[in-house]
């Protein structure tokens, strides 16, 4: 996918490389990188910084080599597996959370034709799949923290730009927007937030606790 225009920023890549990103954000990052070689190479560079930090750390304590060799004799704890791209719309990182591809998603209606499926992660942030019918809008909202929205299928436009397959929108506290799915194909996104959204409409504000947005 060479047409990706909107990428991960340095802060997210460094945090993911360091291993301190909330799991929900990590899933969006891993999914984007599965679709984007540019960010994969940038991640490699940020991991190299981690390697340099490890090289540089002051050491005082030894580790037991004999015990480690005994551990090796026992064989790997879990089978060594490598995530290779599975066929389907979703990269395998995402398929692991869904329990399959698009046809395995358990959608729930959230109103105005939009459907969502919340994926299980640690509680410091949340991530969901969104299905926005072609031509429909997600209600306008602001953000209390950071919101990452990755397009998997179709495209949406908001006040800032157009986002197509593989594109990632990073929205922060200052941004208020109304994403609208383009005509044609329904839009499917993976969206993560580390704080609840701020809806402007009264109806959505009342519904919010029930929808867990």
């Amino acid at each position: 996918m060479s047409k990706i225009k909107h990428h991960l920023n340095d802060a997210l890549l460094m945090s993911y490389a360091a291993g301190s990103l909330p799991e929900a954000f990590g899933l969006v990052v891993a999914t984007h990188i599965s679709m984007c070689d540019d960010c994969r190479a940038r991640l490699g560079a940020f991991e190299a910084v981690g390697g340099a930090m490890l090289d540089d750390v002051a050491t005082s304590q030894d580790v037991d080599l004999k015990a480690t060799l005994a551990l090796i004799e026992k064989g790997p704890k879990a089978p060594i597996r490598v995530d290779v791209t599975k066929l389907g719309l979703f990269p395998s990182a995402l398929q692991d959370y869904v329990g399959g591809d698009l046809d395995a998603v358990k959608w729930r209606a959230v109103g105005m034709g939009v459907r969502q499926a919340i994926l299980p992660t640690s509680k410091d942030a949340s991530v969901r799949l969104l299905h926005i019918p072609a031509g429909c809008a997600v209600p306008d909202h602001g953000h209390r923290g950071t919101e990452l929205t990755l397009v998997l299928q179709g495209a949406f436009k908001d006040e800032f730009d157009r986002f197509g397959p593989g594109d990632l929108e990073i929205a922060t506290e200052e941004d208020v927007h109304t994403p609208v799915a383009e005509e044609g194909v329904d839009c499917i996104c993976l969206a993560a937030t580390d704080a609840p959204l701020k809806f402007r409409g009264l109806v959505q504000r009342i519904a919010q606790p029930f929808l867990r947005i």
């Binding site: 070689d37 981690g50 390697g51 490890l54």
Partner: protein, 181 residues
């Protein structure tokens, strides 16, 4: 430089572990990294006994995953760092770590020696450049990598000199893609 020779020797050791289950080569890699992994885990908030257990586990994982190491895409330090980081997320943060799909079924069995050399050299230049950063910036990067900064505390413009190493990794990725066709 001697650092470069050391790094290339470490690559050789990992390949010896992969191809010959060479315990002497493993002991070399172990002496270099096991104490560093343990120190990294302690700095990241683990107590000494858990750090010992995890460090042993990380080094055993290195043995079992030696066939997945790609010296055209990472130095041994970088690779060990990623294994240690994943163990830390697993053991200390008790979270899953979503990983990007691999590009192929693994690295090429016989990586091109010149590519390996260049990647190791670039890694070395990065280490050099990092050591020349102002103390304040260096401390901040260390904090980030030991898990003390959140993504919103990390500035968007990190100012890290990542240019050449990024293009080396990009080149290695393109070669892998090409090899797959």
């Amino acid at each position: 430089s001697t650092k470069e020779q050391e790094d290339l020797r470490l690559v050789e050791c990992v390949l010896l572990i992969r191809d010959a289950q060479d315990k002497a080569a493993f002991a070399e890699v172990f002496r270099r990294f096991a104490p560093r992994v343990k120190a990294y885990l302690i700095k990241s908030g683990s107590d000494a006994s858990m750090a010992e257990e995890c460090a042993q586990d990380v080094m055993a994982t290195l043995w079992h995953k030696a066939h997945l190491f790609d010296p055209t895409r990472a130095s041994v330090s970088t690779w060990v760092f990623t294994i240690a980081r994943n163990r830390r997320i697993d053991m200390i943060r008790k979270q899953r770590r979503p990983e990007p799909d691999e590009l192929t079924w693994g690295p090429e069995p016989e990586p091109n020696a010149a590519d390996v050399m260049e990647l190791q050299q670039e890694s070395n230049r990065l280490v050099q450049a990092l050591s020349e950063l102002p103390d304040k910036q260096r401390d901040l990067i260390q904090k980030a990598y030991f898990g003390d900064l959140t993504h919103s505390e990390i500035a968007d413009e990190t100012g890290l000199p990542l240019g050449t190493i990024k293009s080396r990794i990009r080149l290695a990725l393109e070669k892998l893609r090409h090899a797959m066709k």
